[in-house]
Amino acid sequence: MALTTLTQSIKFGDNNINSGNTIGSYNKTVYKSDEDAQIMRWLSPLEPNIRHQGVRTGRFEGIGDWLLETSEFREWREGKGGADKAVLFCSGNQGVGKTYLRYVVGSFEISECS
């Protein structure tokens, strides 16, 4: 029985019930059969679900929530526009997220404490 590769899990973590992400509470996946596990590895050795779990664990609560409330995001999610508007692209340079916030506070501390 394969233990670490992606596929059907007996338990999904953190309410991600709609996701292909299959990280369970024990960060371990259980396959229906050895062949299923082999097929999943044959399809791809990559396991983005594990990568996603790592990213979301380090996320700051509430940061970026504004994006989810924009009309552009809502209309895209609701499928308005069909195939023509299938794609939503969030454009930004590296370091516009957590790095930037740390910079704002960090610079303030340095300038004010010195």
Partner: protein, 222 residues
């Protein structure tokens, strides 16, 4: 930007509604870009889509045929696209989220976008979420002329939320009171616009190096 991608993935996963939603995500990474071939990335999308419902018969059949030839043949891109389209066609609503397109090898980027366009044309309800640096927009527009673009930069709410979190976790809570907390919030938010200008002119590493523990000594506000 990864923060944004993971946030969107989780929101899509958790959204209520009558239609069952399936979300597949990919994170490009400059450090391992040579290991992120188009075939492996598209295969990774496929296995997320089929992960919950059991392996479809066509995928199982292709695997069984492949493993008996030449000691086990890998998948071709065309095979993956055929299986992907079948898998997507069997699902009511699919979201594909791909982070950091700019960290995809340039030689792979256009093929990836072409593949995504093929998927979108074959399944108009499929939604595709992409993030990346601004310079990849031109490549995206070659395949999706009506792509909707949202520029990402931290706003006042982000800074406010971040400050709340930092203050809540301060190691010396006894040194904090409501007045000091309010002062810290006000001073930093007032300075934010200036910071925006300065931050945009600094390289990433410089920003990292400036990070330090938040001071709560009230003298810093004077």
């Amino acid at each position: 930007m990864r923060n944004t991608s993971s946030l969107v993935v989780d929101r899509l996963c958790d959204q209520p509604g009558d239609v069952a939603v399936t979300v597949a995500c990919l994170y490009y990474d400059f450090l391992v870009q040579n290991e992120q071939s188009i075939a492996d990335m598209m295969g990774a999308i496929l296995k997320q889509l089929i992960g919950r419902g059991g392996i479809p018969a066509d995928v199982r059949e292709a695997y069984q045929k492949g493993k008996t030839k030449l000691g086990g043949r890998g998948l071709l891109h065309a095979d993956l696209m055929r299986m992907l389209k079948i898998a997507i066609g069997s699902l009511p609503q699919v979201f594909i989220c791909i982070d950091a397109l700019d960290e995809c090898l340039p030689r792979n980027l256009l093929e990836l976008l072409q593949s995504l366009r093929d998927i979108a044309l074959g399944s108009p309800t499929t939604r595709i979420f992409l993030t990346g640096r601004p310079h990849v927009l031109g490549a995206i527009q070659r395949y999706f002329t009506k792509v909707v673009v949202i520029p990402i930069s931290p706003n006042t709410d982000d800074v406010r939320n971040y400050l709340h979190m930092k203050l809540d976790r301060d190691e010396e809570p006894e040194a904090m009171d409501n007045d000091l907390r309010a002062d810290i919030m006000k001073v930093i938010l007032d300075k934010m616009s200036d910071m925006c200008v300065r931050a945009s002119s600094l390289p990433c590493q410089s920003m990292v190096n400036t990070y330090g523990k938040l001071c709560v000594d009230s003298s810093l506000l004077r």
